[in-house]
Structures are given as structure tokens and as C-alpha cells.
Assembly symmetry: C2
Homo-oligomer: 211 residues x 2
DNA sequence: TTTTCTACCTTACGTTTGTTAGATTATTAC
DNA sequence: GTAATAATCTAACAAACGTAAGGTAGAAAA
């Protein structure tokens, strides 16, 4: 199991310690996502990681340290994925294509790659203030990536002038995150969801004739 | 302070007990919304209600009983508000007008009327399974109201045929709920937010010429 | 005025919580 | 093979938790 490492964390560790850290983070991310920050205790995390609660402290300083790392990894993962996908697009890509691809990639990060991004979305508001503060820089950076995507599309004339880009950016991101509350990737098709989402965001619900 | 009463709860109580119950529910709803279900303890709720933790048990059987009542009241409030608003529209109203009004009213319930609806949105996924189950009927009923709104608009020809109405209903509701994560009604204008939201949902981001 | 009941307070219980320290086992270095 | 280090276990702690039981002040009823 390859371990996710945040940008700040460049500590060298043995393979075994790395694997254990990874199991702890994976287990904690899943639990946090499902039960909230305060709803999860260290004994549950330890049990799911195949160890005792006290052993967690060999790898982490505190519960806050665990959740801090998960929050950062969650944003960094979706940021990296979306940036990579967008950068790979040809210059000839339209604004609609850019936004559609960004939507698909963000949703994939939420549901497919790991639980870190979804855990971040779910528990960010419940976490102690200093933890939230530590995650803010990464969050702003990701929001800024969407700002660039939208403003590039706007410069090329793809976006209606009446649209407030600052609001639209937060609307899109938070709307996608909200799919966590109802969409089940085991029952529905993620690609179809992304298509439906992009269609509504880009073209709206209304017919053109009677709008 | 008038107390919100769920449909099931027809118990007669003295004015004083009613007022105390109301303070407890208001305090708990606010705290749950801000810190999550497990993140709030009964001593905090009691302190904000001007009493001691043990006294809560004169009014409620348990922490679960408190949160159950809050969740129900939250959905019932937004349901009632949206239904009242829609029913007051003239028959000549267009699909766009209906949906726009429903969006505005839902957002107002989230941010203005009380904290019950926002508490529901925030903590529903973290609450014990039996509490979630108890709230499910009210949730389904509210979703069904949106289903009616959208299908009526669709019958009248206002909605693009390619739009999946089942998905669209959940998309709209959860997207509005997601504004809780970033919109601050003390800094932004709620009516403008609702207008922006409705504009994107109904007409999308794209210009018509280059879509 | 006395009695009764309502709406609390006080205190305490058993459990669960995050965390620590020391003992113990597994792995690596020599 | 032995020593050293790394990784984990065991056991316990102090605090915080939901909850229960019995007491009390004030209002209402008699």
C-alpha cells in the first residue's frame, strides 16, 4: 500500500513504518468521512489499522496531527489530479471541455481515488480551529486553480457576462462536494453523474426556446 | 421565544416548560450545526440554555431525543416554507419562476429562519442510524415536493429533455445545502446569491452563441 | 396556610476519551 | 549470534462524557 505524503512531510521512514502510517491514515480517513471528527476515537482507528491505540503515538503526536495530515492530503490529491488533467488538454480545447473535464476529475477524486478528499469535505467544518487554519492555504490554492480555469474560459468568451466568477467558483466546487451526501458510486455511474452535472452547470435546466 | 413543534409532538406543556424546551432546542441546533453531533456535549447545550446538564432530562429523554426533534423540525420548516411559497404563485407562473422562487425560499430557510434546517443538513450523516432512519420520512417527503415542482415545469415544456429529473432534484437540493459551507449571510446578500444560483441552475454558465 | 406539583439544581455513577510510560517483541547492524 | 534500534503492546492516568437519583425553591391548588 503506497502511502500518500503531503508536500511538507519529507521525513525519511522505514518501509514498515511507512506502511503502518498509511494504514492508519487510510483507516482514519474512512472513519472520519463516515462518522465525523469527534465521532471517531483512536481505538477505532487503531483497530482498523491492526494495532493498539497507544501504538498510534509512535507514528503521530496526536489525533489532531492525524486529521491535519488527512485534510492536507485530501486537498492536495484533488488539486494534483485536476491540474494534471487540465494541463494535458490541447490549447484548442473549448471552455466547455475544460470545465467538463475538471468536473469529472474532481468527482473522481471524491469517489474513486481515496477517502482523503471526501473526508476533508465532510469534516472540515468540525475540526478544531487550528487544524482548519492549517488546511486553509491548500484550500485557497485549489480554489485559485478553479478561478484560473473559469477566468480562462471567460476570457475566451465562453461564459455569460452576467455570471459572477467569484461566486460561480465556490458554487461549482461546493455543489460537486455535495454529491457526497447522496450519490453512491456502487449504484450509479460516475461518468454519467459528471456528464449530468456538467450539462446543468454549463447549459442549465431550461429549454432555450422558453427561457 | 415561540417554540417550533414537530407534527408528531402534540404534548401540552406549561408556558415555562415550553420556553425552556425552545431554548434547549435552539441552543442545541446552533451547536450541532457548528460542531457536529458528537462534537457537542450536553453541558454545552445546558449552559447555552441557562440551566444545568441534569435539568435537560426533565425536558428530553436523551441526547438522541433532542437531535431527533431538531432534525425533524429542520426538514418540516423548509418543506412548509417552500410549499407555501409555491402554492401562492399564480397558475400563469413559468417553470423558471417556480424554480427560482423555490430556490430563494430554500436558501432563506437555511440562513434566516432558524438553525434547525442547517443543523439537519450538516449533521444528518453523523447521527446514530436510528435517528437518521427516523428523519428519513420527512426527507423523502421534501424531496418529493421538489420532484413535483420539477415535473410540473417539465410537463409545461420548460426543461430540456436530456435532463434526468431524478438526478436534477438531488443535484439542486444538495447544491443549495452546500452554500452552508461557504456563504456568510452577514457578508453577502442572500437575494443575490439566490439569483445567481437560479441563473446558473436554469441557464448555465455558458454563452448561447458558443456552447 | 398548607399541600402538591413543576422546573429546576446538585451530586454522583460508570463509561469512554485522548494520551503517556514502561515493558516487550520484531527487525536490522555488526 | 549478539547488540542496538524500531515498532508495537500493555496498563494506566486524568478528564470528559451521557445519564440517573434525590433534593429544593417557587408557583399553583386546596
Amino acid at each position: 500500500m503506497k502511502v500518500m505524503q503531503t508536500a511538507q512531510d519529507t521525513t525519511k521512514r522505514s518501509d514498515k513504518a511507512d506502511a503502518s502510517r498509511g494504514r492508519i491514515l487510510n483507516a482514519a480517513a474512512r472513519l472520519f468521512r463516515d462518522k465525523g471528527y469527534a465521532g471517531v476515537n483512536l481505538r477505532d482507528i487503531a483497530a482498523k489499522s491492526g494495532m493498539q491505540a497507544g501504538s498510534l503515538y509512535y507514528h503521530f503526536d496526536s489525533k489532531e496531527a492525524i486529521v491535519t495530515e488527512i485534510l492536507d492530503a485530501g486537498i492536495e490529491a484533488v488539486h494534483r489530479e485536476v491540474k494534471t488533467a487540465i494541463d494535458a488538454l490541447p490549447d484548442s480545447a473549448s471552455g466547455a471541455e475544460m470545465i467538463q473535464l475538471a468536473i469529472l476529475t474532481h468527482l473522481r477524486s471524491l469517489f474513486e481515488f481515496n477517502n482523503y478528499t471526501s473526508a476533508n469535505v465532510r469534516i472540515y467544518s468540525q475540526v478544531p480551529p487550528q487544524v482548519r487554519k492549517a488546511n486553509l492555504k491548500a484550500r485557497k490554492a485549489y480554489e485559485s486553480l478553479w478561478g484560473k480555469i473559469l477566468s480562462r474560459a471567460a476570457e475566451l468568451g465562453y461564459i455569460r457576462e452576467s455570471v459572477d466568477l467569484k461566486n460561480a467558483r465556490l458554487m461549482i466546487i461546493s455543489s460537486m462536494n455535495a454529491t457526497l451526501e447522496w450519490f453512491d458510486p456502487r449504484r450509479g455511474n460516475l461518468n454519467e453523474l459528471a456528464n449530468d452535472y456538467a450539462a446543468v452547470m454549463l447549459r442549465g435546466l431550461l429549454t432555450k426556446t422558453r427561457s
